[in-house]
């Protein structure tokens, strides 16, 4: 029996009208009425400004918004292009909205985009968030150009972050992916991305796409799948990222579930690739990096420290099943340190992450519980990181992060051994 199409007749009909495109921009939405019009306008101006001759379409997979988001997308318009760009668009700009089926969120939205890109023969695709407040037309060019003009397959964003912002990325995702997959990508889970048409087709056909990656996990999958698939990966400077919806510290558990869990799952799927990957390469970085002195993010370090100590104390029986005795003992020892002397050393942190990844792989305990257990340890690492870098300049912080990355890389055999250990 033929597989039922996941694309609605109306969506297919709209794509038929769009026809072959050079650039396809994806804008998944769900109740983003208040912010989406500005995003659509910025994208359209970017397309007209930087790619006036290319055939472009904006595809808006919507999760069933109740607030009039798709109507806002369709109503977005630039009343007078000449006033904005001193020129008028040469071509028709298609904006297609369609509801994606099911409740799998980002995964289904991406599936629709991959299918649209494949069907329309898109040469380059870009993905943006509907709540971006800092999006400018230049972002579109920064993301699309490496694909369209330089033959890259995947473009990860580089945001300019405030000090102490993105600590999960800096302490876990970036160094782990760098050590394991061998690519130095600053933001492996950027909310924005660009990819080539051939990578979109690969994504669409890749069985692992059917995994249920929650939330931002789909972005982790895209990044690592592009790396593991041997595609040309690069990154592009975008500048500071400001979005209307911000995750609060209360969301940390969820974030670790989504991102950490997805990364560990991807490592399972792609283990043949990364376990044999040697070395680490710097990916090309495009665009202009602005020098902005942004205020540091305020984090309640003391509370993080206290939650770490409480977590280590309360979760000892769980951590015993996840961590090696030596690692657990070392963590136990640092948790007893006075707050002002508290340090979570780089090598210990790298080993901790590696043992969590391996235990996830071996299903040492329920995977959700495992990921929950990582949260207090991560809080300890963050608290330590802030304490260590409280008065440091950006360059000094970067130098220390480099040491952390080196530890991750140095300890990769430890990860591989733990990963491959028979249980």
């Amino acid at each position: 029996m033929a597989e039922e199409s996941f694309l609605s007749d109306d969506f297919v009909s709209q794509l038929t009208a769009v026809g072959e495109v050079d650039i396809l921009v994806g804008l998944p939405t769900l109740n983003n009425r208040d912010t989406v019009q500005r995003v659509v306008n910025a994208i359209i101006v970017g397309l007209v400004k930087y790619y006036p001759r290319e055939r472009c379409a904006l595809i808006n997979p919507d999760g069933g918004s109740k607030d009039g988001t798709t109507e806002a997308v369709q109503a977005a318009s630039i009343p007078d292009f000449r006033a904005v760009l001193a020129s008028n668009p040469l071509r028709t700009m298609h904006v297609v909205s369609a509801q994606y089926p099911g409740v799998r969120g980002q995964n289904e939205a991406l599936r629709m985009l991959f299918a649209a890109a494949d069907l329309l023969g898109a040469k380059a695709c870009a993905l943006f968030s509907p709540d971006l407040e800092s999006l400018t037309p230049e972002w579109l060019d920064a993301m699309v150009r490496p694909v369209l003009k330089d033959g890259h397959d995947f473009v990860a964003p580089v945001y300019q972050r405030r000090r102490f912002d993105g600590l999960l990325v800096k302490n876990v995702l970036h160094p782990l992916i760098r050590a394991a997959y061998g690519y130095q990508v600053e933001e492996p889970v950027g909310r924005e991305a660009a990819f080539s048409g051939r990578l979109a087709a690969y994504f669409l056909g890749d069985e692992s796409r059917r995994e249920d990656f929650p939330g931002l996990g789909a972005h982790v999958w895209m990044t690592t799948a592009a790396m593991a698939g041997g595609f040309r990966v690069c990154q592009a400077f975008l500048g500071p990222r400001v979005a209307a919806s911000k995750r609060s510290a209360l969301d940390l558990n969820t974030t670790i579930q989504e991102i950490g869990g997805s990364l560990f799952r991807c490592m399972e799927i792609q283990q043949a690739y990364w376990t044999s990957r040697q070395g680490c390469e710097q990916v090309p970085t495009f665009g202009f990096q602005p020098v902005l002195d942004l205020d540091p993010l305020r984090i309640d370090r003391r509370r993080m420290y206290q939650m770490f100590r409480t977590g280590v104390d309360q979760l000892e029986s769980v951590l015993e099943k996840i961590l090696s005795p030596a690692t657990l003992q070392a963590i136990g020892e640092i948790s007893k340190a006075e707050e002002r002397h508290f340090r979570f050393p780089d090598d210990l942190w790298a080993k901790t992450i590696y043992e969590f990844a391996s235990s996830y792989h071996h299903s040492a305990i329920n995977r959700d519980h495992l990921l929950q257990a990582l949260t207090p340890l991560y809080r300890g690492r963050v608290s330590s990181f802030i304490l260590e870098n409280a008065g440091a300049e950006a360059e000094e912080v970067e130098r220390k992060l480099d040491l952390l990355r080196q530890d991750y890389e140095r300890l990769k055999p430890y990860l591989v051994e733990a990963w491959n250990r028979q249980t």
């Binding site: 009208a17 026809g19 001759r53 028709t92």
Partner: protein, 560 residues
């Protein structure tokens, strides 16, 4: 003193009924140069007797009017647009009697004849200018625009940017500057001088009296100059036009005036006045956008410009064209659009001239028969009277190495024989060399060969014109754009009275599907106009059509 003489004694009266005064609205115009069409006396230059021999061909093509490029005495430094005698015939082309015979024979074939009225300027060899420059107090002095300095009318754009540095030229004889919007050898006449207006009316009267059906008035926007303005489209220019129109209507009510005003539609609109200026004006900005649309595979440029086009009085009409004797002008496009056109259609910089592209239709379409058909199909179905440029009906090529715009003015290719059947002269004597390359050369592209095939471009063009003339919806109907989601499909309804035609063009090189919202015509049966086949009746659901690459449909919508 030289002035326009009395009209010739034997006027040629149109044999057709005193005619529909709006005949130009249904016209299909064929533009040709007597010099390029057929040479009867073997001197290497086309002439009126030669054209007369080919009049049956023109009639057979199905066009209803012939527009003759300048045939007046001239130094020919600008294709005859540098006139040195307004009421004479360049001896190379024949005599006034030859022209009179041509008019007679054309009218017998129901062909109207439109001639050039180059009133903005004369040749510097014209006796008027020679007199004017002879001394500052010559009675003709004020027939031209003079200045002691070259700083009057500062900022006025130079049209022939590739050759002219200023709109003023120094006259060493009268030691002053004279104004010219085109070449330096074409001094502008001074229309502030009533004598000049009267003289131009006499010129028109001369030819109208002989039987000429209409005048294509050259370079209209530039007739009058005023300080602090662009010296284009001035109210005083409109006064000149109204003056000539009033005189023409009074004495020759079925004759018409066609404006060459290369301007934006909103700026051309005043030249129709309240139906009391020009009967017809060329729609210059539409033409490049048709080329752009086919390259972009997007209807947007055409719809944009037509939506910017204001309504015109009921007795007026647009003149539309794909190519003509000039370069494909890109004055009325944005910088981005011009860059795009250059990159798409004139990568060879030799094809660029002034702000345009000096190429014929077939080379622009890369000799793609399907694109040639599509472009001609749009030309024949969009609002306006279509103008065909001689040779384009057989897909003639060009030679961009001949300088200026001569590359698109080479001899008509009648056959694969000696000099393409154009002339019995030695090939070296031809006014311009024939095209001889393997793709567009006369051995390959010629009338004789195409006449033999029902499927040649020539035969197809005849059918196209015939079908176009079968419905007044094309010539007089209003247009309503359909907006199917597929932007590669350009669809519209032409409608007048009870006649309705649906036109669907695929601008893409690939096959396309399109759903048309035709609910307004629910119950109608679309009948394909070339083959006469009925298509499924229109219902409530979107009407699905598929079109091959560059394919188009014309459907007569019938209520049966």
């Amino acid at each position: 003193m030289s002035t326009t003489s009395a009209p010739p004694s034997t006027a040629v009266t149109p044999p057709y009924p005193a005619a529909d005064p709006l005949w130009y609205k249904d016209a299909v115009i064929y533009e040709l140069h007597p010099r390029a069409f057929n040479d009867s006396n073997g001197d290497g230059i086309g002439d009126f007797p030669g054209l007369l021999q080919k009049l049956d061909y023109v009639q057979d093509l199905g066009v209803t009017a012939v527009w003759l490029l300048p045939f007046y005495p001239s130094p020919l430094k600008d294709g005859g647009y540098d006139i040195s005698d307004y009421t004479g015939i360049n001896p190379s082309y024949g005599t006034l009697n030859d022209f009179r015979e041509l008019l007679e024979q054309a009218h017998r074939r129901n062909l109207r004849v439109i001639t050039e009225l180059v009133i903005n300027h004369t040749s510097d060899q014209h006796p008027w200018f020679q007199e004017a420059r002879s001394s500052r107090d010559n009675p003709r002095r004020n027939w031209y625009v003079w200045s002691d300095t070259d700083d009057r009318y500062r900022g006025v754009r130079i049209i022939f940017k590739d050759t002219e540095l200023s709109n003023w030229s120094w006259d060493p004889i009268s030691k002053s500057y004279y104004w010219h919007r085109f070449f330096g050898h074409q001094p502008d006449l001074n229309f502030d001088n009533p004598e000049v207006r009267e003289e131009m009316w006499k010129v028109m009267q001369f030819w109208a009296e002989m039987g000429v059906d209409g005048f294509r008035v050259d370079a209209v926007p530039y007739l009058v100059e005023r300080e602090g303005t662009s010296c284009e489209n001035l109210p005083e220019t409109h006064e000149v036009v109204k003056f000539l129109r009033r005189r023409l209507d009074e004495k020759y009510p079925t004759r018409f005036l066609l404006a060459e005003a290369n301007q934006w539609p909103a700026d051309v609109r005043p030249y129709f006045g309240d139906g009391d200026e020009f009967h017809m004006a060329f729609h210059f900005p539409l033409m490049p956008r048709m080329f752009m649309a086919v390259k972009l595979e997007d209807r947007k440029p055409i719809i944009d410009i037509l939506q910017q086009t204001p309504d015109i009085p009921e007795n007026c009409q647009w003149g539309i064209f794909l190519r003509n004797h000039d370069e494909l002008t890109l004055e009325m496009v944005s910088d981005e659009e011009r860059d795009y056109m250059y990159d798409m259609y004139a990568l060879d910089s030799g094809a660029r001239l002034n702000l345009g592209i000096r190429r014929r239709l077939a080379p622009l379409m890369e000799n793609d028969r399907r694109r040639l058909e599509l472009m001609n199909g749009m030309l024949m179905s969009l609002p306006g009277s279509p103008v065909l440029y001689y040779g384009d009906e057989i897909g003639m090529g060009d030679n961009i190495f001949l300088g200026d715009r001569n590359g698109v003015r080479t001899p008509m290719q009648w056959s694969g024989g000696w000099n393409a059947g154009f002339s019995v002269a030695d090939p070296e004597r031809l006014y311009l060399p024939l095209l001889s390359n393997p793709v567009y050369g006369y051995q390959t592209v010629n009338v004789e060969a195409q006449r033999r095939s029902d499927h040649s471009l020539l035969s197809w063009m005849k059918r196209l014109i015939r079908v176009r003339k079968s419905s007044r919806a094309f010539s007089r109907g209003r247009i309503e754009f359909l907006q199917p989601r597929n932007h590669r499909v350009f669809a519209y309804i032409r409608e007048t009275g009870n006649e309705r035609v649906l036109v669907v063009n695929n601008l893409s090189r690939a096959a396309q599907a399109v759903e048309l919202d035709l609910r307004t015509f629910e119950g109608y049966i679309p009948v394909e106009m070339f083959g006469g086949n009925p298509f499924p009746r229109i219902g409530r659901l979107p009407y699905l059509l598929t079109l091959g690459p560059y394919h188009f449909y014309w459907f007569r919508l019938r209520r049966l």
